[in-house]
């Protein structure tokens, strides 16, 4: 599993539940207090053990933990770079949804060895979409639900999200856009302010 994924979970625990909680999880998993390096690749078993331990210590269902990780990734100040990169997807929430098809390829441009699930968006009409999530780790779909929910807020859109497990083991997220300009949304400018980095 890519270090970026493990490190995301590590930073989520650290920034949401405090350093002590992270240290306790790190000790249980058998990794040093400094944790994972974002630019290295780790054994899948270690990543899975990390997730199991986080679920155990936070005492929450895995789906909820993963959704919280997704929310964290696009809302915390330490991960502002990710939110910005996603906002490049378009001016409206619908633009953003359509840009998700390109997300795995876009991610590869930046980090060549990062494997993300295949994403495909289908639209029934202008307000109802289904995002198919195929391959890699099934937990990705839950992270995406967190990401989508928070990005909808970011765009000021009011949405209804639901995830379902398809027969082939893949996941699908249904997205209903109730109001595309429900709230103000957060501002976004293509221009980069100095010193934005993933920590």
């Amino acid at each position: 599993m890519h270090g970026l994924i493990n490190r995301s979970i590590q930073c989520f625990v650290r920034d949401t539940y405090g350093v002590e909680r992270w240290l306790s999880i790190a000790k249980a998993v058998g990794i040093g207090p400094e944790g994972f390096e974002a630019m290295l690749v780790y054994e899948d078993a270690l990543g899975n053990a990390l997730l199991r331990e986080v679920v155990l210590q936070l005492d929450k269902p895995e789906e909820m933990v993963l959704e919280d990780v997704g929310t964290y990734l696009v809302s915390h100040q330490n991960t502002e770079a990710i939110r910005r990169l996603l906002r490049f997807g378009g001016e409206t929430f619908a633009d953003f949804l359509h840009s998700l098809d390109d997300l795995p390829d876009r991610a590869k441009l930046a980090v060549a060895d990062l494997e993300l699930p295949e994403l495909e968006l289908t639209d029934e009409d202008e307000t109802n979409f289904t995002l198919h999530v195929r391959g890699v780790h099934p937990g990705f779909a839950f992270v995406l639900v967190g990401v989508l929910r928070t990005m909808a807020d970011d765009y000021g859109a009011l949405v209804l999200l639901d995830q379902k497990c398809l027969g082939d083991g893949n996941m699908a997220i249904t997205i209903g856009v109730l109001d595309s300009s429900f709230a103000e949304g957060r501002c976004f400018s293509l221009a980069r302010r100095p010193q934005q980095e993933v920590t």
Partner: protein
């Protein structure tokens, strides 16, 4: 002046414009032109700007673009020295590089072509690589670029790469820090592969803590400086490696051989406190180190002086003191003419080995 309507071109239309399909499309749909080329300009042959795309107009919010003179607003970077707008399409396939005379000095790459009516020049501008600075300077959004323009993709890539590079840089810094720390904590002398002073300290502490008796030799090379001076440091390094091999071969697995200075070594003999035997070993080491070491056709000749102390000869003293006592005996050997060993005696100073 009505900017959105194709009024300006109509002015030059009547007879001059050919009624072909492309010409009509061009004239009929100026909005499409703005969508395809949001940074275009139509410049009349006298250099007056007749029309400008929406993004270009955004760069000059105070106005002054339409109706202004092209060469008053823009400085030519390439081709240089051109003062006639009509000349632009003809040179270098119409490729142009220009910059605003006032305000933000971002460079534009542009392409100029003569309109089919023959009464104006179409100039389409792009930011090129300056796009990163331009979006910041002008607060542009993705809507300001044509849907087919890769500018936004490039901005995305620029940010993504910056984030990834910054992570890589941090990783490199941490690895560098870890390397320095590892070197500081290392127990091995990199040149000879022997233990270093740090490791020796640990060995002596452990022996002292467990009360295991031990013998100690301070070994200092003689004439080593001359080898370095005559044959160079590479020869000196070769000699040190030979010395290390001799010292290891003359000691047991459970003993410790440490290089504690440039040409200084300490040998720790676990559970060996028999001074007779220690002196025999010392003499054997001296005689083996006196064998010349060949280096690039030269024979490097050295010897060594040795001081010996044991935990039995100095009961109750710490290993630091014992090292000092062995050192005193070593210097007594040096003073007595080098190439020999001496025993440290607590009450009467060092005595020759007879």
């Amino acid at each position: 002046m009505n900017i959105g309507a194709p009024v300006n071109l109509k002015a030059c239309k009547p007879r001059a414009c050919s009624p072909d399909l492309l010409g009509r499309v061009n004239l009929l749909d100026m909005d499409a032109l703005s969508a395809f080329m949001p940074m275009h300009m139509v410049v009349a042959m006298d250099g007056r700007i007749l029309r400008a795309g929406p993004t270009l107009r955004k760069l000059r919010p105070e106005g002054g673009l339409i109706g202004g003179m092209f060469f008053d607003l823009f400085e030519m970077r390439r081709p240089r020295g051109v003062t006639d707008i009509e000349a632009l399409p003809a040179q270098d396939g119409g490729r142009v590089s220009i910059v605003f005379r006032d305000g933000v000095r971002t460079h534009f790459k542009a392409l100029a072509a003569k309109l089919s009516c023959g009464r104006g020049i179409l100039v389409n501008l792009s930011f090129g690589i300056s796009v990163v600075d331009a979006v910041e300077a002008y607060d542009l959004s993705s809507r300001d670029f044509a849907a087919t323009d890769l500018a936004v993709e490039m901005l995305y890539l620029f940010e993504a790469k910056s984030a990834a590079m910054s992570e890589s840089k941090k990783l490199n810094q941490r690895l560098q820090g870890a390397k320095v720390a590892a070197e500081e904590q290392a127990f091995t002398d990199t040149l000879t592969g022997l233990k270093n002073r740090r490791a020796l300290g640990h060995v002596l502490d452990r022996l002292e803590a467990t009360g295991v008796p031990f013998g100690l030799m301070q070994v200092d090379l003689d004439y080593f400086k001359q080898v370095n001076d005559r044959f160079g440091h590479a020869a000196g390094d070769e000699v040190l490696q030979v010395v290390a091999r001799v010292l290891v071969s003359e000691t047991r697995e459970c003993d410790t051989v440490a290089r504690v200075g440039g040409d200084e070594f300490v040998l720790v003999f676990q559970r060996l406190v028999d001074t007779e035997l220690l002196q025999t070993i010392a003499r054997r080491i001296i005689s083996r180190l006196e064998e010349p070491v060949p280096y690039e056709g030269n024979a490097c000749r050295i010897s060594c002086s040795i001081g010996i102390a044991t935990s039995e000869s100095h009961p109750g003293v710490g290993s630091e003191t014992l090292l000092e006592e062995a050192d005193k005996a070593l210097y007594a050997s040096k003073h007595a003419g080098r190439g020999r060993c001496m025993l440290a005696r607590p009450e009467a100073g060092s005595v020759p080995d007879g």
